[in-house]
Amino acid sequence: MYRNLTIRQKQIVWAWAFLAIPVLFYVVIRFYPTGNAMLISLQNWNLLGDRTWAGLDNYAKLMQDEVFWKVFKNTFVYLLIGTPVSLVISFIIAYHLDRVRFMHGFIRMLYFLPFMTSAVAMAWVWRGFYQPVPVGLFNNYLAAAGIPQIEFLRSTTNALPSILAPAVWAGLGFQIIIFMAGLRAIPRSYYEAARIDGVPWWTVLFEITIPLLKPTIVFIVVFSSIGFLRIFDHVFNMTSNDPGGPLNSTKPLVLMIYDTAFNAFDMGYASAQTVVLFLILLIVSLIQLRILRDR
């Protein structure tokens, strides 16, 4: 039977034979659990007993849960501060680093190092920095200079930015590398033409560099948005005494899901939260792709 196929058909058969492995992998590892989570979100299940049908109860509970709305807001604060700040800083660094010749590789390595460091280790080190006297590095300096201490983590207003700072820093290295690749890809001839015309540097920046970096910016915005919407390690490790605290002021959605699933063992409710997170990620990504795509 195989013999009777044309060469083109044989190629198709082989293509599918090879594709079958990743397809199977995705179905078993990704699509089946995703579908299962959606199903569990319509049920009540404590991991031990039988699953019972709950309909939309878990979603109704979610809408009325004050903590959920607080967490929802936090998640977007992480996104709306984290993404623009990290985008601007990484662009500025990449823009200037691109012109540096002296120890270029070494400086680039310094920026990339935090990205390769384990988020857990980094979070614990920063957690140490933020402590009050006598152990916290920052507050020890403040106290030595006679300035009142700052409550970094034990504050409902300061805690979220304090946690976000190392998370932004950790992601910078990756974004800088991508930006630099984007900058290198812009043809030199445009800059030469601009220089011949005597155009000022800001016109070059806003009329040539940034417009031509658009695909790079789209990639970084989508990529880092997904990262900030899913923030977990930094928050959990820096607040593990009171996860997402104080008073839920730093709790992101993923941490709430974890807590609901593995401390309260309320798998149905946790799955409903997961489905909501999935929808948020989907919508945010679609909006960004639409706004930032080429006309």
Partner: protein, 420 residues
């Protein structure tokens, strides 16, 4: 030499295979599961060895998992007819395990309920339902007040506090601050995230004349004068007496280990890690009494239960094994190896155990300990942490803070008992 070694090894192996084959013919093998913790596994290995020596026709196979996977594995295995015949679980999970039909009650002939109630410390009664016990502990844990002997000597304090008032006075002598008034050493640690939420619930509220819960822990009852007094006392340590700071050195036990805290309330499970802390000289005493001399304590424990998978001769073997792991001998071994307290007065209150300078205060605490029946321990702890945060960070009044906490905890309990 090497050849000889090999030969004797082979002989030994052959002999043990023969012995195994010989006994395997009429042997029952039962499975025991617990979560992985070095000392617990070592102690259980010793218990199994003793048990098998006394019961040559039964072998016990122990399996252990990381704590994080434990519940999922148990839940998946037992309904599938796999997994343990005797299983270890946290006392707070008993309801869930019962409801999911993973465990069966202990037989009344081997474990007559009234006899068990008389033999064990009173808080184990939480495992009883009517004429049946569902599960029993080998060992229990309780709270006590650790103190730093070096700091006590330095401040000229002769003996640890007996009452709450003495505790505050001593704490004042142990507190140090820098020029700007920032604490650099605290008299006593404070943090609801550690063991203080148990101290508040089961000790302080009762000492102020209250009853933290009613209806078998289904109804929150600390929103009362006693509750307000208890939380005012607790937050007063930081705000009025200034002998502590919440979040000092990140974690209470870290401050105590670093020698920056004079006193620290913690559980018997902390003994091991304090012993390993170099340069720390510590002592331990019973939790302070109130002015009327009343003392209370909180106890928690892991229990063993027979699963619904065990039937026939495996069931009989499981009952025998349960009898052994709840025997006096097993409890003494557990105390010596793991450092967890015996669950029966007959072992705990022997002269050598009750007067042991380290274990004694914990063991004496068991006589007046209560056990909170948690629906979701970390959720209920969170509510008390938030209560203190609202007072400490947002300046909420004690009466409001405790009302909000009581309402939130009641809702959590109602939701839990409605679905279980």
């Amino acid at each position: 030499m090497a050849k000889f070694g090999m030969k004797s090894w082979l002989l030994g192996a052959a002999a043990s295979i023969a012995a195994f084959a010989g006994s395997a013919a009429n042997a029952v093998e039962i499975e025991y599961w617990q979560y992985f913790f070095d000392a617990r596994v070592a102690a259980m290995e010793q218990l199994i060895e003793n048990f098998e020596a006394a019961n040559p026709d039964i072998t016990v196979k122990m399996t252990h998992f990381p704590y994080a996977d434990y519940r999922t594995k148990v839940a998946a295995a037992i309904p599938a007819g796999e997994g343990p015949d005797v299983v270890q679980l946290f006392y707070g999970w008993l309801n869930d395990y019962k409801a999911a039909q993973l465990i069966q009650p202990l037989p009344t002939d081997a474990f007559p309920a009234d006899q068990v109630s008389a033999d064990f410390f009173p808080m184990v009664g939480a495992m009883r339902e009517g004429d049946n016990y569902w599960a029993l502990p080998t060992a229990v844990r309780s709270l006590a007040l650790f103190y730093n002997e070096r700091l006590f000597d330095e401040a000229g304090i002769d003996s640890p506090p007996e009452t709450l008032d003495e505790m505050i006075e001593i704490a004042k002598k142990l507190t140090k601050a820098d020029g700007a008034g920032n604490l650099t050493q605290v008299g006593i640690t404070a943090g609801m995230n550690a063991q203080d939420h148990h101290w508040f619930r089961e000790v302080l509220v009762r000492q102020m004349g209250g009853e933290p819960y009613l209806d078998d822990y289904h109804t929150v009852n600390y929103n009362s004068d006693a509750g307000v007094k208890a939380i005012e006392f607790y937050t007063g340590l930081a705000n009025d007496h200034k002998v502590t700071a919440f979040g000092f050195m990140d974690e209470p036990q870290a401050a105590f280990k670093a020698g920056r805290a004079g006193m620290h309330i913690d559980g018997s499970f902390r003994i091991g890690s304090l012993n390993k802390t170099r340069g720390l000289k510590w002592g331990v005493t019973e939790l302070p009494a109130n002015a009327a001399g009343e003392r209370f304590n909180y106890s928690s424990y892991w229990v063993n239960a027979i699963t619904t998978k065990a039937e026939g001769e495996k069931y009989d073997a499981a009952v025998k094994f349960m009898q052994y792991v709840t025997s006096d001998e097993a409890m003494q071994i557990w105390l010596d190896v793991v450092g967890e307290l015996p669950a029966k007065p007959s072992v705990g209150l022997t002269d050598s155990n009750a007067n042991n300078p380290v274990f004694g205060p914990f063991i004496r605490g068991l006589a007046y300990a209560n056990t909170t029946k948690f629906a979701n321990e970390s959720g209920q702890r969170q509510i008390l942490m938030d209560m203190v945060q609202r007072m400490d960070i947002e300046g909420q009044a004690a009466t409001d803070a405790i009302a909000v906490a009581a309402e939130a905890e009641q809702k959590l309990l109602d939701d839990y008992y409605a679905s279980n």
